[in-house]
């Protein structure tokens, strides 16, 4: 099969995709790196000049950077914990015999297909509004004061919305992994008198470890750049309370027209994402050899 001719056709046929992806990624990334060393503001065209690492110094010493880095880590970390723990529990639940399980599973995974802007506005207005929202009404039933979610706990509100969106992703993958668990092994453990808790920690959880790793890595990559949910609800505020790195770069580029500063921020974001990506690529690469 692998004659020289077929290898050549193979190269020719795969070349277009590789070339367009290379152009799409490498060229803009190169431009971003170049811009990040320039004083370059869209409001003063023609004034571009080389300023070395000054943009990085400004960006990395800007209090806004630390605030947004902290917000990014808090957002990613909280959503990961909520979705992985919730995903395991819901996965175990859906793995049991339940009346109408197929339909129930559809309901649970539905949030994943909701577009981010709809997700954000439905939660903000219909559920979390301090006057007419569902949560305010529930609080009043319990005799509690209503929470003004986006004023008092803005980052928590974003975390709740994003978790709701990503929980189904964790459930889907962990459930798929659970279903490939060897039933015999579990039954043998039961015969030997192992309780459900022991079975979970010594059989189920180790079996899930690989799927959990995949969920954590893939979610991290997407969660590092959460944008639309912030864009339509808080606009990064109040103050910097909900500004993550992605949103900070956006405000610098398209609101303050500071191309140089935004580019430096973009490169910082790329480096952060790469730290995670390296692990994920290795994991997938190992799997490819099997």
């Amino acid at each position: 099969m692998s004659t020289r001719a077929s290898t050549l056709t193979g190269r020719i046929m795969s070349a277009p995709s590789i070339i367009v992806l290379f152009l799409w990624m490498a060229v803009p990334l190169g431009m971003t790196i170049y811009f990040s060393f320039l004083r370059y503001n869209l409001l003063s065209p023609g004034m571009e000049e080389w300023i070395g690492t000054l943009n990085y110094e400004f960006f990395l010493t800007d209090p806004a950077f630390f605030a947004s880095l902290a917000n990014t880590l808090l957002l990613v970390g909280s959503v990961l914990v909520i979705t992985v723990v919730g995903g395991i529990l819901l996965g175990l639940m859906l793995d049991q015999p339940i009346f109408g399980r197929g339909i129930l599973r559809l309901l649970v995974i539905a949030p994943f297909f909701i577009m981010p802007t709809v997700n954000a506005l439905v939660w903000k207005n219909l559920l979390m509004d301090p006057v007419s929202g569902m949560f305010a009404w529930l609080a009043s039933l319990l005799g509690l004061p209503a929470i003004d979610w986006f004023t008092n706990v803005p980052l928590t509100s974003i975390i709740i919305m994003v978790s709701w969106q990503w929980l189904p992703f964790a459930v889907l993958i962990l459930l798929t992994a659970l279903q490939s668990l060897d039933r015999d092994q579990k039954e043998a453990a039961q015969m030997d008198g192992a309780g459900p808790v022991a079975i979970f920690f010594y059989i189920t959880l180790p079996h899930l470890s690989r799927a959990i790793t995949v969920v954590v890595l893939i979610e991290t990559i997407f969660l590092l750049t959460v944008f639309a949910e912030i864009f339509v609800t808080t606009g990064g505020g109040p103050g910097l309370a909900t500004t993550n790195i992605a949103f900070l770069v956006y405000t610098q580029a398209l609101l303050q027209y500071d191309v140089g500063g935004a580019s430096a921020g973009g490169i910082v974001a790329v480096i952060l994402a790469n730290i995670v990506a390296i692990f994920l690529i290795r994991l997938i690469g190992k799997n490819l050899d099997k």
Binding site: S17, P111, T117, L126, A136, W137, W164, T176, I281
Partner: protein
């Protein structure tokens, strides 16, 4: 565990599971319900669950006031367009990688994946400037290209895993019988790969439909899809919840149906084959 479960245990666990499932689904249910209320009922406290005057006027008004169908049409064009362009590139690339692999095929696949992992803010500035200078801002063509490129790695990857499952003997037999390369791909490979190609396309439509970083940043009105249309509700005037709900329901309904049909393939596509 489940074999020994008593009927009572089955029933009570089912009830518990359904309560949990309905709570997770509640925001979507509530959105659909609100879309049939009047604006006044939509904000009333206590909220009305069934006993309100069901109305369709929100759906009519969303179209009249804001030309909903223009945005819906943009969403369809962007999702379908980027999927079709992607398919042409991805099928040839995945065919080459699956049936004519070289030593570097694995590296090429992983490299393609790595492009998917770059945060979009890393290239936002140059893409925005290039689009501005080339007059591509707020054009459907420009966005189709962007959506096609951001999803191409996933398409190639998914098709690759499906093509790998097709026995190469069949393709070789066709070649022996004198089939040319295009004929081999179109008449032998594609018919066998229809299920895989269909689910790849569905996943790509879902991802393109819901993409909200580039569509928000690169469009203003002409090429704006539903993601941007819904975002315009974030700074409203007057009562708008029922109309927001109607617009949102229309925006998510088609993708929810497609998503439900392709949930199994979703795992394969989104984990790059790392979880089976």
């Amino acid at each position: 565990m489940e074999n020994k479960q008593s009927p009572l245990g089955y029933i009570s666990f089912s009830i518990f599971a359904w309560i949990v499932g309905l709570l997770i689904f509640f925001p979507i249910f509530w959105m659909v319900l609100t879309s049939f209320k009047t604006e006044l009922e939509a904000v009333s406290i206590p909220p009305s669950f069934i006993s309100f005057d069901w109305t369709l006027e929100n759906y009519a008004e969303v179209q009249e006031r804001s030309n909903y169908f223009k945005f819906a049409m943009n969403s369809i064009i962007l999702a379908v367009g980027s999927t079709l362009v992607g398919l042409v590139f991805a099928v040839t690339c995945a065919w080459a990688m699956a049936f004519n692999p070289t030593k570097r095929t694995k590296d090429a696949l992983l490299w393609m994946l790595s492009t998917k992992m770059m945060p979009p803010v890393g290239v936002l500035v140059p893409i925005y400037l290039v689009f501005r200078d080339w007059g591509l801002l707020d054009t459907r063509f420009g966005l189709i290209m962007v959506l096609f490129l951001i999803n191409l790695p996933i398409m190639v990857w998914m098709l690759y895993t499906y093509f790998k499952e097709i026995p190469t003997d069949i393709l070789e037999a066709a070649r022996m019988d004198g089939a040319t390369l295009p004929k081999e791909i179109i008449f032998v490979l594609l018919p066998m790969a229809v299920p895989g190609i269909a689910s790849t396309m569905l996943l790509n439509v879902i991802l393109a439909w819901n993409e909200a970083f580039w569509t928000l940043n690169l469009t203003t009105s002409d090429a704006a899809p539903l993601t941007a249309f819904i975002a315009s509700y974030s700074s409203p005037e007057g009562l708008f919840w029922a109309k927001l709900s109607a617009a949102s329901t229309l925006a998510v309904a088609p993708i929810l149906v497609i998503g439900w049909f392709s949930q199994k393939q979703l795992v394969r596509g989104l984990t790059f084959g790392a979880v089976k």
